[in-house]
Symmetry: C2
Subunit: 198 residues, 2 copies
């Protein structure tokens, strides 16, 4: 009845997308089949191509089309500085800010035992190998300031300290344009604690 089984199967498949429940999946399937077959064809082509061509950089673990991504292959980057991030999107933000000229390691997530994501899933073994086979002066922990991000930073910080590498974490405080009135208590107390001579 109603939609054919082909549509039901498509709706079911779309539900694997993050944040997509049964109603959104239904709306998406309707949109793709009725309003935008051109867009649907583009999703087909680009997803197929991405699944076939995208793999991980053997050094930094970020998505890459080649064995070494363009950042790791660049002679202009400082190999003594290593910034550890959670996702390619985080790396993208840092690159866009243009303030960091060292190398990266992308964990592709954070420690989350309940979801079955432990050190092995984050490629920590590759990170350790990187730390042991390269002359790295400083490791900058740039995981998110969430519970999971902090736990991940603690874990990796420990690994680096054992190998006598200097460990730093991004500063915390008020964001640019931040108004005290709307800041949460945690941010405010970090901002006071970390206050600097002016």
């Amino acid at each position: 009845m109603g939609p054919t089984s082909a549509i039901a199967a498509l709706q079911q498949a779309l539900r694997c997308l993050p944040g997509v429940g049964p109603k959104s999946a239904q709306r998406m399937a309707f949109h793709l089949l009725e309003r935008n077959r051109q867009g649907a064809a583009e999703i087909l082509a680009t997803l197929d191509n991405a699944l076939k061509s995208v793999r991980h950089c053997s050094r930094c673990n970020n998505f890459s089309a080649k064995e070494l991504c363009s950042i790791c292959a660049s002679p202009a980057r400082n190999p003594e500085l290593l910034c550890v991030l959670e996702t390619p999107a985080d790396l993208e933000s840092v690159e866009q800010a243009g303030i960091f000229k060292g190398m990266y390691f992308v964990l592709m997530g954070h420690l989350s035992p309940l979801d079955g994501i432990g050190p092995d899933e984050l490629g920590v073994r590759n990170l350790i190998e990187l730390l042991e086979t390269n002359a790295i002066n400083e490791i900058i922990l740039a995981t998110n300031l969430t519970v999971e991000g902090e736990a991940t930073a603690d874990y990796i910080g420990e690994i680096a300290r054992k190998r006598s590498i200097k460990v730093t974490r991004l500063a915390r405080g008020l964001p640019m344009g931040g108004e005290l009135e709307y800041m949460d208590q945690g941010t405010l107390s970090q901002a006071f604690e970390g206050r600097r001579e002016y």
Copy 2:
């Protein structure tokens, strides 16, 4: 830099989905490529299949795998009653309620001049042909109670009246489980206006 052009192309393609902006598209692409390649393969297969196999029923305009959908092909349905709806999802809801045994016509949308959706895009020509070539006693306007749904109902009601067909619209009032405290003024005034002897 950062993600390869294959990922950028996938992100761009995903933005054609309703309610998906650049950030969601980025999250979806990451999820598909890093966390759920199985799910991505299922989207590929089911979307490809749906694009190839899904077309419109020649009678009711709903999605169908065959020339006539299962409802239009069923001898158990009353062809003298025609319920006009906006989307396949609306039809699905009515079917699940199990209270209607007539036939349907699915507009696949509503009148929306600003989006370039006029009578032609809604298959109104097919609807008129249906009204003129079949003995239909009553047309039930079951478009949504939104501005666009009402305008669409007005338009189709006019067409049916011109052909001396009885036109009805779904009752309006409090929904089941509705609490007066939380009802909007429009619903409340409709509920008072349409009050019935008890």
